[in-house]
Symmetry: C2
Subunit: 331 residues, 2 copies
């Protein structure tokens, strides 16, 4: 067993201070607080996510993948804001201080952090059931931030990458459906190693209107844009981008995974039709496909509850009872 | 059972947005990120703390006290930096969404937040074993920040308030020692409702050199100043400030509680002897006693490991085997 301080030092503080990317914090790990400021004229974009064993990951998860994912889901929030990663704090509770586990976890964490120039500036460790809480800081000029409340009727609705593979992996692991070994590996990679769409978020500054990242399923998350922007949406369920692996499962499963899957960490955003060429260019710049899946429409009446109308490729309406993942929803 | 979003909205988002203090964030709860910037010329001081049931608090803790303490321990880190509270994020996992519990918890949290003008700007909630992770943001001009690495030989060592009551409460609850009902209530209040020394931290800008908050016991925490500043210290164990209630326990218990107690959340700081009047004035301004307990001394040799020399009121050396609380220490 390592003591808390040597443990932090061995796996986290040394690597944080030895990193080759420019150090953004005036004062980082080892004091009561880190000191950080955004570049002149910009603001810090701040997001926090907590991951719990048994709910967000399986107890036997590869610790390197877990280190990646814990930071990835936070960077995904920065991407959704069009913010550039700067720094993060890491608090975690662990049942025991296992050096091999921590070594692999910190590898996954720092590999991703270094790719995004995101510096570890503080943290806290304690004993307890496994729980990871990261708070991430990016920078963005406030007028360029991709907010949820900026969608307008007539906007196209876009989705990056493909949806549903992470949910397909969960289904395979739960025995809800099966897939061949290659497809199962594709699904599992999507679930364990999501790639935050930071480059796309930056490329969409000044191009997209509203944006968010899809973490709880498109159906639930798109509602957040609709509610904050006071608009409706129509979406073509058959236009939702999906992997070849997912296409080999039934249409029903494909819809379930793409619409209400969760854990996608793709961006969903709106942009005026006049910006279609710019959106496609932003996707090319970020080396990521972007797919137009629907349209923002006006509310039925001023006080109406926003809603999504789903249809298939032929335009026939679809009635969906699937919901986005809701952590405290009554069973 | 409430769904996640209505739960957040009911207890946290509405109260955050309905607060009367000035809103510091351009964009707060409800988007992918909050947007925050420090005042011109200042930096954000950032700290994160995680509290776990069974380790940092008892399962039957009063939820209102827990809400207070979860934020208080974070504000204490800002105080130790001389930073002014601005905002915080709250992530927590809960076994179940109990409305009464959440109502009391949020009362304790927001009562303290509002007293310090500290705005809730984001968060995350999930199911799981009870775990609270707060990240707090303050502002401080970087040249005024009270760092751990600024102590100099000859500096006085000061402590605010009194030490040891929280540890005394733990001892009563564990049956290690007993106290009458009044004293037990005094101890319990110290443990459950620590008051972050924010006003003192602000008053000490430009007066104190090094500072930190005592969360794991003076013996362990003072070592952090010594290690970062590359100095030694001599401390008079009998000079450590303690409550009348603690003075009614044995000298041995008093020493154990004041030196290695933990959960004190008082400030320990150093200042040159020429600043004694200013330190006392800072204490008066913050309406908090400050007590001189020792002196910073040079290291024995350039590469030596820093150490604390303890003595009693007569100057006789004390040998202490007590250690500060170390979360992963081998039993």
């Amino acid at each position: 067993m390592l003591s808390e301080f040597s443990l932090i030092d061995r796996f986290f503080a040394r690597r944080a201070s030895g990193s080759t990317y420019p150090q953004r914090a005036v004062l980082g790990i080892g004091d009561d607080c880190a000191l950080l400021a955004p570049p002149a004229g910009e603001m810090l974009a701040i997001s926090t996510d907590m991951l719990v064993e048994g709910r967000h990951f399986f107890p036997d998860v590869d610790p390197k993948a877990l280190g990646h994912k814990a930071l990835a889901v936070n960077l995904s929030d920065l991407a959704a804001m069009g913010a550039k990663p700067q720094a993060f704090t890491l608090a975690f509770s662990l049942p025991k201080a296992d050096a091999d586990w921590l070594s692999a976890f910190s590898d996954g964490l720092f590999d991703l952090a270094e790719r995004h120039g995101c510096e570890l500036v503080g943290g806290d460790t304690t004993g307890g059931p496994l729980n990871l809480c990261i708070t991430v800081f990016g920078s963005v000029p406030p007028q360029s931030a991709l907010r949820r409340d900026a969608a307008q009727p007539g906007d196209d609705i876009w989705v990056s990458g493909t949806l549903g593979d992470a949910r397909a992996s969960l289904g395979v692991q739960r025995g809800e459906w099966s897939a061949d070994a290659n497809d199962a590996a594709t699904f599992r990679r999507a679930m364990e190693l999501p790639e935050p769409r930071v480059a796309l978020g930056l490329a969409l500054r000044g191009v997209a209107r509203a944006a968010l990242d899809i973490s709880d399923g498109l159906a639930g998350d798109l509602m957040h844009i609709l509610e904050r922007s006071r608009v409706n949406a129509t979406v073509d369920a058959d236009a939702l981008p999906r992997s070849d692996a997912l296409r080999r499962l039934s249409t029903d499963i494909q819809r379930r995974c793409t619409i209400a899957g969760g854990d996608d960490y793709e961006l969903c955003f709106t942009a005026p039709p006049s910006a279609r060429a710019e959106v496609v260019a932003a996707g090319q710049q970020a080396r990521l496909p972007v797919t137009r899946v629907g349209t923002i429409t006006p509310l039925d009446a001023a006080g109406a509850v926003p809603a999504i109308s789903w249809h298939d490729a032929s335009g026939a309406p679809l009635t969906l009872t699937l919901q986005g993942f809701d952590h405290f929803h009554a069973e």
